[in-house]
């Protein structure tokens, strides 16, 4: 606990705050340079190839959206199911969701070869494509998040000079249950479809399975709640005050824990039925090659299952451990790590072990390897910097937590 207890004089705390803001800004600026490179020179500056056309940015895109899943989950719990005691975290969840979805959209804009045609999926429809459905859902849901977020913004002193804005914000806030329903529907669709992006590709045995969409949405709910809660706890530690009640913190930890347990259960059967109890030639062939040429088997078991799944599940569900804030924060961070590693592993494992189609024995090993270039890493860091900067400023200047509102009301 002492680690986080910053009982420093006010002046030092200000200094730390500005140092942190400078760090996040520097990350963002590094990213801007990377983005400039990409826009000027095209995607040749990446480590991607025709055999591995998706990599680090897709991972960032998938995990940012997963980390934003706390927004629809908690909005539904609070505004739809009217479980009022979760309300103090709802705004934070919506804010984190907004940052996750905007991060994903920046990553996607960098990743497509023609960013000038980003609007094409909205005009040229192909309803058979899960990616078309995802694009629509993400665009619509981002709009929902903006509408859910606006009342928070309009409640700030800056906007007080236009009283009608606050009134508008109130109306929007009144409509929260409606947004919660729409948000729930859209999220149930696209959070699973992101898994279906891989799950429907019958030509790639390692991906082709109906469990992927379900595992994606359940892990997103676990990751989204964990992300929101761990950020909230960090804010609390830094402010040296409780921003949410201890009871709510326990409830959210348990919710994340149970969701994680459901995810692990699905993962167990996914593994057992596709590789342990069965022997589908395509899957077996791809897994053998993966095992021989990449570390993905290790990262799957150690980072996804043990560190990212079993250990945090124990901490979050075993009461004596759950009572220790530091353990809980580590557990939540591990969940976030596990879900992110999962998105990387799913993407890359299917690409680096491509199907063998040549009728001979030599051509089956056309090289397929990938390592991100510095430009890709710079853009990755930049998008992360954007999210961290926006979160820090938002938490400082906007009434995200109920304790802020009480402070501003008195």
């Amino acid at each position: 606990m002492a680690l986080f207890n910053l009982s420093l004089p006010q002046q030092n705390r200000e200094r730390i705050w500005w140092a942190w803001i400078a760090t996040a800004s520097a990350m963002f600026i590094v990213g801007l340079f990377g983005m400039g490179q990409v826009l000027i020179k095209g995607l040749q500056v990446t480590g991607l190839s025709d055999r591995v056309p998706w990599g680090l940015w897709i991972t960032q895109d998938l995990s940012s959206i997963a980390m934003g899943a706390g927004a629809f989950t908690l909005s539904a719990i609070v505004y739809l199911f009217r479980i009022e005691r979760f309300k103090p975290i709802a705004r934070a969840a919506v804010f984190v969701g907004f940052l996750g979805y905007t991060s994903a959209m920046i990553a996607l804009a960098m990743d497509i070869g023609r960013p000038d045609r980003f609007w094409h999926p909205l005009v040229y429809w192909n309803v058979h494509s899960v990616l078309w459905e995802i694009t629509w859902c993400v665009v619509l849901y981002s709009a929902v998040l903006v509408l859910e977020f606006l009342p928070i913004l309009f409640a700030t002193p800056f906007f007080a000079r236009w009283p009608w804005l606050e009134k508008f914000g109130h109306i929007l806030h009144k409509a929260s249950p409606v947004f919660a329903v729409i948000g729930l529907g859209l999220s149930l669709l696209h959070q699973s479809s992101l898994g279906a992006t891989y799950g429907v590709l019958s030509g790639r045995a390692i991906w082709f399975k109906p469990t992927l969409p379900v595992m994606f949405i359940i892990s997103a709910v676990a990751g989204g709640i964990s992300m929101t809660l761990v950020l909230t706890m960090i804010v609390g530690k830094l402010r040296n005050q409780r921003v949410i009640s201890r009871r709510l913190q326990f409830d959210l930890s348990r919710l994340a824990g149970y969701t994680l347990l459901a995810y692990l259960y699905l993962k167990l059967w996914d593994w057992a039925s596709t590789s342990y109890y069965s022997h589908a030639p395509g899957t077996a062939e791809a897994l053998t090659r993966l095992q021989a040429t990449t570390p993905y088997t290790q990262t799957f078991w150690w980072l996804e299952i043990i560190l990212g799944g079993i250990i945090p599940a124990i901490i979050l569900l075993y009461r004596p451990l759950r009572r220790n804030d530091r353990y809980v924060m580590i557990a939540l961070a591990l969940v976030v790590m596990g879900v992110t590693v999962n998105r990387w592993n799913v993407t890359l494992s299917g690409l680096v072990a491509p199907p063998q189609w040549s009728p001979g024995v030599l051509g089956n090993y056309i090289a397929a390897s990938y390592f991100p270039t510095w430009t890709e890493i710079a853009v990755f860091i930049g998008i992360l910097g954007y999210a961290l900067l926006a979160f820090s400023l938002g938490v400082r200047y906007l009434p995200i937590y109920s304790s802020d509102r009480e402070a501003s009301e008195t």
């Binding site: 309803v127 058979h128 040549s358 009728p359 051509g363």
Partner: protein, 273 residues
């Protein structure tokens, strides 16, 4: 009393649970209604199906045959394709070729154009409908619509599609020896692939030529082959070279188990004893 208290402190009360179940059910029903009504596949197909002119009619279906036993590995088909379709970069070859060996130890040369699958995985996944299977079976691309997301590359199990990672500005070393550019080069940021030389087929039909028989209406790779290892034509025409190829030779298609229904047929490299 104590029992009741214990229940209250649990994560979700029974009432909460019922509410959640009810609302989830309602959401599912709404989703079902929406997707079966205005957003049903049938209703949207008309909007989603790209309408393109061009000589597409259901009377023809173009197939290709590649006899690996006849192939001598000269690579003329690879180079002719690069010249005709203006692909200067060897990394981006539409029609790739490489030395191969059978399990039995017979050396052969493997070449592979786009297989123009009837159930093309690349077509289903495109979020903007920039690629489609024409009525005559050719998998076509619209470079002006492609956003460069590369999902089609991810979906294709045969490594057929190529992305323009950079501006293609270098000189084409295969011109004019192996042919001249018959189509425009593609811009940076879009995906491309073998077209079965669709421009030759469409123009040839207009001029009353027979693709597969008349050279001007036949894919460049087929024309370039010095040993006639490749055959092309309309599978609905029993007299076409491809129909005869399939009738005379025992052929197979690459990874039939994918269910992609390719339109390129191969003959095994081992010469029958």
């Amino acid at each position: 009393m104590t029992k009741k208290k214990a229940k209250k402190s649990s994560l979700l009360s029974r009432r909460d649970l019922l509410q959640i179940l009810g609302a989830t059910g309602a959401a599912a029903v709404v989703t079902q209604i929406i997707t079966s009504g205005p957003l049903s596949t049938e209703a949207i197909q008309e909007i989603g199906e790209p309408t393109h002119d061009g000589e597409s009619s259901s009377e023809h279906e173009w197939h290709m045959g590649i006899d690996l036993a006849e192939c001598i590995g000269c690579q003329y088909c690879v180079w002719a394709c690069q010249a005709t379709n203006d692909v200067p970069d060897d990394e981006m070859r539409w029609n790739i070729g490489f030395p191969e060996r059978t399990e039995g130890g017979t050396d052969f040369f493997m070449t592979r154009p786009c297989l123009h699958c009837r159930e093309a995985p690349c077509v289903n996944v495109c979020p903007v409908g920039a690629t489609w299977v024409r009525e005559d079976g050719i998998v076509e691309m619209d470079y002006d619509r492609c956003i460069g997301c590369r999902y089609c590359e991810v979906a294709c199990p045969y490594d057929v599609r190529r992305f323009n990672w950079k501006v293609s500005s270098e000189e084409n070393a295969y011109q004019p020896t192996w042919g001249v550019a018959e189509v425009e080069r593609r811009p940076r940021g879009v995906v491309e692939k073998c077209t079965f030389c669709v421009h030759r087929i469409d123009r040839g039909l207009e001029q009353g030529l027979t693709p597969g028989v008349d050279q001007a209406a036949t894919p460049a790779c087929v024309v370039a082959c010095p040993v006639n290892a490749r055959a092309f034509g309309d599978i609905n025409d029993p007299e076409s070279p491809i129909s005869k190829f399939l009738e005379e030779k025992e052929s197979f298609r690459l990874r039939e188990d994918f269910g992609t229904e390719p339109k390129v047929h191969y003959v095994r490299p081992e010469k029958e004893a």
